[in-house]
Symmetry: C2
Subunit: 480 residues, 2 copies
């Protein structure tokens, strides 16, 4: 990491109306930092020196620096001034591992740098995102799968359902209309191998190498990975217990795409307020950006009424909505969907054929029946109530079983909660300790890339009944 | 298409030993042509002028020109000299379709330019690659799927099988060892959503934008598409009824990857000879290139003994072997596999998690049992005999039912045959006529991109019994 001093050589003030000078300084510096021209470890001039060199008031510089500090670009160090701390990460391509053999591509090395968060076989405590598969109506599902296996219709043998089984696309178009207020036709519904495959396809369809994308920090690693592998450059949207901090984002490196989980922020379970939703759509309109609305876990909200999907609020064709059946049904099912922009629905369908990310047609046919015959909504309703009870009970139990330096935050939605760890032991080490007794708790710090890291642990609670939860918590407490 | 004349300004002879001058001219010109610097429509100097300008013998120039003509880079036109006819295509990115909305990425436009060859629902004649799904042991398969649906093991609910179900990876490692002579460990087996998803992943893992890849012409459109979408630049390997013409390829733009279908050339059904196989491996060694061995349809060979897989012949770690169960079992199953290079097996596994191209774990579990309990090999053996009989009968029937200007070529393997069409009507128009009576025949000319197009039609025959074949042939003959 190079340590250097920064000179104000290049700054030219364009005194556009209604654009205060502190915002221009913010924009100038944040763009240099995101592009890597001002690397982490660079010391900035003091506010006094900067003000003198720029010929502006000192308060103007302080206002700009404060905004950059609160967005995680800079850090003020006691007695030693202001330093760049933000590191752009997309450009760092891992080195090839085999100097003598044929090397992987640079993109291949980025793709394979993703180490998935692997659950412990046979142990659901406390892996995030795991539904209670024991409650899934397997007998019904099995009957529906058999129904389509028995006939072996030639429609299921053929290659003509390139965007997904037409009947399933129709069923999902109705489902998202009823549950999320989305108005789309069935041609816009593209059936993928679950949410990750949807992200992989969308990232490639909308990002070219070097394009900026805004993404929540902390946020979903899979989304960040898919967009980084597509050559995108991540720009963090700060998210904390108070919500999404878009206020300063208007001036940060302009986004080709904005990735958000408004129905249920990953991993905190926050639900985005209506005003923030409108703000995101305004930003997208201003910058002609795509919005990727990852609607995972929107079904499991606790004591709050369903928030409208961004897709249903948008007046234009910029929101790409993603959904999955992994959480509502079975993770092993691997069926998800994209609601593609209307103007590009045929393009997404062709691209899906080019990437081959289709689930089995038999399972698509069974899922169609599962939705159309009402089993899906019944199951979701039951699980919503069950998970809401488990959420409340789990938070209560943690107070009894776990040390007080772990402070749990109530979630508004989802299948996991976050605990802030006020401990000298880093969260990654705490996670390793837990793993040594067969328990998965996911550390928060790896979800911070450019902003200041906060320690914490993510607990999936949905898959466990009272007995399983309490035993796991007792086991966990022994090693903490 | 710009018409221009070419000057020999840039050619510098490096008189390296053992590299004759005509080869240097070949290499110089082919590199300029592949890179687009010498576009189609450029006229080259006469051999006499060229010899004079270069200070070499005229025969040397003629030898080089002849080689470039036979490889499809140049065309000699009666009385008007020698012209560049080859067009590099990877650089042509389709224009964005929505000038006012948010545009797709350049890569997204390439990905979506792939218009899949869509079968006609309910009609198997004569779509290529369709197996006879009526002969598939659906009752057995259904029982095996049910077996795994019934228990709903928590291993099937979890997220820990990132490269595929471990038991299936083990079963496939044994299968390719027995049937293809491949020695690999189960960690090298990466389970994908069929062959196209395997191609999509492999292309991204080994190619960076601008990397050349060699690919058969005519050849498999899906492979070309996947590699082009990954940013690769296609260089054609000429293939005709006499086989693969690698002789001149040693001098063409050096490949990062070589894509071949040695067990059953698409679409002609040729099987690559042992000497050519060794030649491919030598070329890959020389250039440190990857070899992608697409082993589709290797199971269905007619009256020839199984050729060893390139992977089994290679002494190094450069061959990536691809297989699929779409043809041997059901197209709708969508399970395929990559045998990854040993040094990069973990990288491929991580990359698969990043792209989410996993099939359902229940189907993976059922497929494991289908292989391990012997149903797979029994079914393949039966279909091999059946398709061999159908191949012979179909060729005979075409002589009775179709006009004599259609000349069918016997295949050595596969589920389709090619007919050369010696007709004034282009093959794409013939294909449209056939479609008007509900019959799919696939035209050959779209499979030529840079070399001289040859008219022909591809007929899938495997899915049809005698009665279905004859009725379809009679219907087809009416419109031809």
């Amino acid at each position: 990491m190079g340590i250097g001093n920064f000179q104000w050589n290049g700054l030219e003030f364009v005194h556009s109306r209604g654009n205060p000078v502190h915002r221009q300084i913010f924009r100038y510096l944040s763009t240099l930092i995101v592009s890597g021209e001002l690397p982490a470890g660079t010391k900035l001039p003091s506010s006094r020196d900067a003000a003198r060199q720029l010929g502006v008031g000192r308060n103007t510089v302080i206002t700009a620096y404060d905004a950059l500090i609160s967005d995680g670009f800079l850090e003020a160090r006691q007695g030693s001034g202001v330093w760049v701390t933000y590191e752009p990460v997309a450009q760092t391509i891992p080195k090839s591992s085999s100097p003598t053999g044929t090397p992987l591509s640079a993109r291949g090395r980025v793709l394979s740098s993703f180490v998935p968060d692997i659950s412990i076989p046979g142990e659901a405590a406390f892996h995030p995102g795991l539904p209670d598969v024991g409650r899934f109506p397997l007998a019904t599902w099995s009957r529906l799968v058999r129904r389509h296996l028995r006939y072996g219709q030639d429609s299921l043998a053929g290659y003509h359902s390139t965007g997904g089984l037409p009947q399933l696309r129709e069923a999902i178009a109705k489902l998202v209309n009823l549950s999320r207020g989305i108005i789309c036709n069935s041609e816009q519904v593209i059936i993928t191998n679950g949410a990750q495959s949807a992200l992989d396809l969308v990232a490639r369809m909308i990002l070219d190498p070097g394009d900026n994308f805004w993404i929540e920090e902390p946020g979903y690693a899979g989304a960040r990975q898919a967009m980084t592998a597509a050559g995108g450059v991540a720009v963090p949207i700060p998210v904390d217990e108070n919500g999404w901090h878009f206020t300063q984002m208007a001036d940060v490196a302009l986004p080709k795409a904005i990735y958000v989980t408004p129905s249920c922020h990953w991993p905190s379970g926050l639900v985005m307020q209506r005003s923030t939703r409108n703000h995101v759509l305004d930003l997208a309109n201003t910058h002609r950006s795509w919005v990727i609305e990852d609607d995972y876990d929107s079904e499991f909200r606790f004591h709050v009424s369903p928030a409208p999907a961004l897709h249903s609020l948008a007046s234009d064709d910029r929101v790409i909505h993603l959904g999955t059946f992994s959480k509502t049904m079975l993770p092993s099912l691997r069926i998800g969907y994209i609601i593609a922009p209307k103007a590009h629905a045929a393009s997404f369908q062709n691209a899906l054929a080019a990437t081959g990310q289709h689930p089995s047609l038999v399972l698509q046919a069974a899922l169609t029946d599962f939705i159309n015959e009402g089993f899906f909504s019944t199951h979701v309703r039951k699980m919503r109530n069950l998970y809401a009870q488990r959420h409340t009970a789990f938070i209560q139990e943690t107070k009894e079983h776990l040390p007080s330096w772990m402070q749990f935050r109530l979630a508004k939605a989802g299948m996991q909660v976050v605990a802030d760890t006020h401990s000298d032991v880093p969260d990654q080490l705490l996670s390793q300790h837990a793993r040594s007794v067969g328990i998965s708790v996911t550390p928060m710090t790896p979800l911070f890339h450019q902003l200041k890291k906060r320690n914490g642990l993510i607990f999936g609670f949905a898959a466990l009944d009272c007995d399983q939860r309490q035993k796991a918590l007792q086991r966990l407490n022994l090693v903490l």
